[in-house]
């Protein structure tokens, strides 16, 4: 018997391109992996999304740019030269024949596995601003780095609230930062690196804000507001004009609020590995808060999937701005992908990524209260998140609804962030929680007295970059896909009106379904 014509088998087009080694991310790890792969004789494609389109910059994807990218509204081509110039080793990669694609989003990657056997092989989805296509690969190295750990506070929606990685990208990669005077949240190595970078670019640093009593790294010449937390950002449509700081714990000693003039507030409290593609691929992920969050299971550069490798911060945070660590891990990943090495990437000793963000979250909640947003895209407040309440646009909440909260939900089982997302919409917006998912997890952990790592990872799904329907639309669809398309299973007897079942009308009314007769 032949295969059900409405099922997926054989309907995917052949990939538009094919490569032996695909590397995603052209940071130091990705560049090193691409060069090493080419050296080892592989046909290599290197994809990097920078420069990203203005629309994504406005959405703070992939990093918290915070409305401080100069000229973000213009075409992305104007940034291409700056971005290319900012990538050391890019020329060598070109010289070695690496197929380099800048300004190209890797929005998905797929391999056959449990509950999936229909792919024409390993494929990755890529796109630019005009169209998407699929690239077949034998091995994939994911070197997508880390993104900003974000926190919200009153005024955090104002232009000028940026992430440390966003700031570094605007200064170093895009050369298009339109701030002048920066106040930095956090005082660890990430904060110090951000301050040094700002000074190197001729900017002013207003100081570090630190919830703990002492600086977490050598503060250098910069002012330190220790035992303080950000109470609010003040400003107007043009952006932040000042930050207001309050003593942690409210200040029974009567210490006053501190006003700090600044046009930019930089979140440098932590980083988060960019594991989106690994989750889309179905790689097993494990909570390792001391390594920055969820990371691929296994011994990097290997993952739980035989053809998928990782390099750099995506597998667990490496030292801040230590390109040599990243390069070494990239080379190891390429050699592992080529079957030349089984060496494991050695990560630095665990950093304080667990207690530290938690302390910040606690201090920000104590200072700002529960009316502050937990999710900016969907306008979910901390109170509505912890109350597990539906969005306001659904109208008045019935009494049974308001009687429910996180505590009543906990009685049914452990906290699950995806479940709470479905109910509150926190993390369900256009950025898919890139700005809020860690702080939502922290709030849920605090609200349920759970360890940070005990909150299950909310899932990532393709497309991992929000791209227009017209871009993702398959222009290379097969005739088979087109001809046999059906809204549902295409089981003709499924839609037979009940009264007609078992009558002579049954033959006549069968095939009433939702499928269509495509003109051939």
């Amino acid at each position: 018997m032949t295969q059900d014509p409405k099922s997926i088998g054989g309907k995917y087009a052949r990939p538009a391109g094919q490569t032996e080694l695909l590397v995603i991310g052209a940071g130091p790890a990705g560049i090193a992996a691409a060069i090493e792969g080419a050296r080892a004789g592989a046909k290599v494609m290197l994809v990097d999304e920078n420069p990203v389109a203005g629309a994504l910059i406005g959405l703070d994807v992939p990093l918290l740019f915070g409305g401080r990218m100069a000229g973000a509204g213009g075409s992305k081509e104007r940034f291409t030269e700056a971005v290319a110039a900012s990538i050391p080793g890019l020329e060598e990669a070109f010289d070695r024949g690496v197929d380099v694609r800048l300004g190209t989003y890797a929005w998905g990657a797929f391999v056959n596995g449990p509950a999936l056997a229909s792919l024409p092989g390993n494929v990755a989805g890529i796109a630019d601003e005009a169209a998407s296509s699929m690239i077949g690969f034998e091995k994939l190295i994911i070197a997508t780095g880390a993104r900003d750990l974000c926190f919200f506070f009153p005024g955090s929606h104002l232009p000028g609230v940026v992430g440390a990685n966003g700031l570094a990208a605007m200064l170093g990669k895009y050369r298009a930062f339109n701030g002048r005077r920066i106040l930095i949240l956090g005082s660890g190595s990430l904060a110090r690196a951000s301050a040094d970078l700002a000074i190197a670019h001729g900017l002013e640093v207003a100081g570090f804000v630190e919830v703990r009593a002492e600086a977490q790294a050598e503060p250098g010449p910069f002012p330190l507001f220790a035992s303080h937390v950000l109470l609010r950002a003040e400003g107007d449509l043009s952006g932040v004009r000042a930050a207001v700081l309050a003593p942690v714990g409210g200040g029974p000693d009567g210490r006053p609020e501190i006003h700090v003039a600044c046009d930019t507030i930089c979140l440098a409290i932590g980083r988060v590995p960019n594991i989106e593609l690994l989750d889309v691929l179905g790689a097993r992920l494990v909570a390792r808060p001391e390594r920055g969050g969820f990371v691929p299971e296994g011994a990097p550069p290997a993952t739980s999937l035989p053809d998928i490798f990782v390099a750099g911060d995506v597998a667990g945070l490496g030292p801040v701005q230590d390109a040599s660590f990243a390069r070494d891990s990239g080379r190891l990943a390429a050699r592992a992908a080529r079957g030349l090495s089984e060496a494991v990437i050695t990560y630095p000793p665990p950093a304080d990524c667990q207690a530290y963000p938690r302390e910040w979250m606690r201090a920000l909640v104590a200072a700002g209260g529960l009316g502050v947003m937990a999710c900016q895209c969907e306008e979910v407040t901390r109170a509505d998140l912890l109350g597990v309440q539906p969005p306001r646009y659904l109208g008045p909440r019935p009494p049974a609804m308001t009687a429910r909260d996180l505590a009543t939900l906990l009685a049914d089982g452990p906290v699950n962030q995806d479940q709470i997302k479905r109910l509150t919409r926190a993390g369900m917006g256009s950025c898919q929680g890139r700005r809020c998912r860690e702080q939502v997890a922290l709030l849920l952990a605090l609200g349920s007295n759970a360890e940070t790592g005990a909150i299950a990872l909310p899932s990532w799904r393709a497309p991992v970059r929000p791209l227009p329907l017209s871009v993702l639309a398959a222009s290379d669809e097969t005739q088979e896909m087109r001809r046999h398309w059906d809204a549902w299973f295409g089981i003709s007897t499924q839609w037979t009106p009940y009264a007609d079942i078992g009558t002579e009308r049954e033959a006549y009314v069968s095939d009433f379904g939702l499928g269509e007769k495509e003109p051939e």
């Binding site: 059900d4 509950a115 497309p463 929000p466 993702l472 639309a473 809204a487 009940y498 003109p519």
Partner: protein
């Protein structure tokens, strides 16, 4: 429908002990109906309520083919009030046709529903655009169904679950049913990973796992599981009628404004324990293409997510809702991939079967297992419903 109770009041359940395996929309609705009738209800769910297809579908509430259609239409407008929680239900649907063949399909649906007294209006392109402004020049016409509707699946499953608790019923998540014990022609207990539960009556409504569990009581329910996919865009301004679909897609504009649509080819899965993986695939590109054709003015809208669900079908695609003769206290329900919208009515039918031995409000006799007597053991092969060979 007079026994709705205020929140917080948890009546003691003194009625028969009823265990429901499956915290999907069908099992939860059945649990709610049974709890309303005073039964002592426990719902056993292996993950979280609505975690499978019940929380991953298009949210449609318009099933003219079903014997439960009239009850479905009667209950949805009342459901928020009855459950005490929001389901995001909105009335009415519009079918958008891009060609004459598509319009003919919608006319067929309208004519069937007309037999039950439901009305529909045919729309030209201009009238269609007033109700569904995202359509383009390529729209051929449409039909406005003045019945049916759509709701939020994730909110609805949780609403059923909470309503069960408010009536004194029990919800047991992260509990996988591992065995069913029978004695003297009756099921007497369910063994789960969270303990054993004695029972007076059992309902098996476990989606793709229904077949495996029915075998525990010696009954063969022919089912095949498959994976299907959907996409969702960022929010767009609300259209006057959000329940609009067509062009081979099912779905809706959510009350937030997102376009959530699915359709297209499915992938049949192997006939054993369904794996937890629910991968979505590059099919999102074909879904995007169809959606741009349907709504050209949404071409700029960004896709923010895709997802997949795993769903079961019987050989003829029709539900099985039946109280078994042996063991006589077991009721089996699979909605054969069309369960969400019908859930208010399927739960009612299951309640009737469990407590009264027959469905009191509709004839559902043609949904019994008897129709599969004599089905060849290799029916999946002969229907071509086989999993694909793993790629080399």
């Amino acid at each position: 429908m007079s026994d709705t109770r205020a929140a917080g009041q948890k009546p003691e359940q003194k009625g028969p002990k009823i265990v429901i395996i499956g915290g999907g929309v069908t099992g939860l609705s059945a649990g709610w109906w049974l709890a309303r009738a005073g039964a002592n209800v426990t719902v056993v769910e292996r993950f979280i309520v609505g975690w499978e297809a019940s929380g991953r579908n298009g949210g449609g509430c318009t099933h003219y083919q079903s014997p439960l259609f009239v009850e479905e239409q009667r209950l949805w407008p009342e459901l928020d009030r009855l459950l005490g929680y929001p389901t995001e239900y909105r009335r009415e649907r519009i079918g958008i046709a891009l060609n004459a063949a598509q319009l003919a399909r919608f006319r067929q649906m309208a004519s069937i529903a007309a037999g039950f007294g439901f009305t529909a209006t045919e729309l030209d392109r201009r009238e269609l655009e007033k109700r569904v402004p995202l359509i383009g020049e390529n729209a051929f016409g449409g039909i406005h169904f003045h019945f049916g509707g759509h709701a939020n699946p994730q909110r609805t499953v949780q609403a059923y679950a909470w309503a069960i608790q408010d009536l004194g019923g029990r919800l047991l998540q992260h509990a996988e049913a591992t065995a069913i014990r029978c004695r003297g022609g009756r099921a007497v207990s369910v063994e789960t990973t969270r303990g054993s539960f004695p029972l007076d009556a059992l309902v098996i409504a476990a989606g793709p796992q229904t077949g495996m569990l029915a075998r525990e009581v010696g009954v063969d329910v022919p089912l095949a599981a498959a994976r299907a996919e959907m996409i969702v865009t960022e929010p767009l301004p609300l259209m006057p009628v959000g329940g609009a679909d067509g062009n081979g897609l099912y779905g809706r504009q959510t009350l937030r404004g997102n376009l959530a649509y699915g359709g297209g080819p499915h992938e049949w899965l192997a006939d054993h324990r369904i794996p937890p993986a629910r991968p979505s695939t590059p099919l999102l590109r074909s879904l995007s293409r169809r959606l741009v054709e349907l709504f050209p003015k949404a071409a700029h809208a960004r896709v923010i997510r895709s997802w997949a669900g795993i769903i079961e079908n019987t050989p003829d695609g029709r539900p099985v809702i039946e109280r078994l003769r042996d063991p006589g206290n077991v009721t089996i329900a699979t909605m054969s991939s069309v369960g969400f919208g019908l859930s208010p009515a399927s739960g009612h039918a299951i309640r009737d079967l469990v407590l009264e031995g027959e469905c009191r409000f509709a004839d559902i006799s043609k949904l019994s297992l008897a129709r599969f007597a004599g089905l060849a053991p290799d029916w999946r092969t002969s229907q071509g419903w086989l999993p694909l060979a793993p790629a080399a």
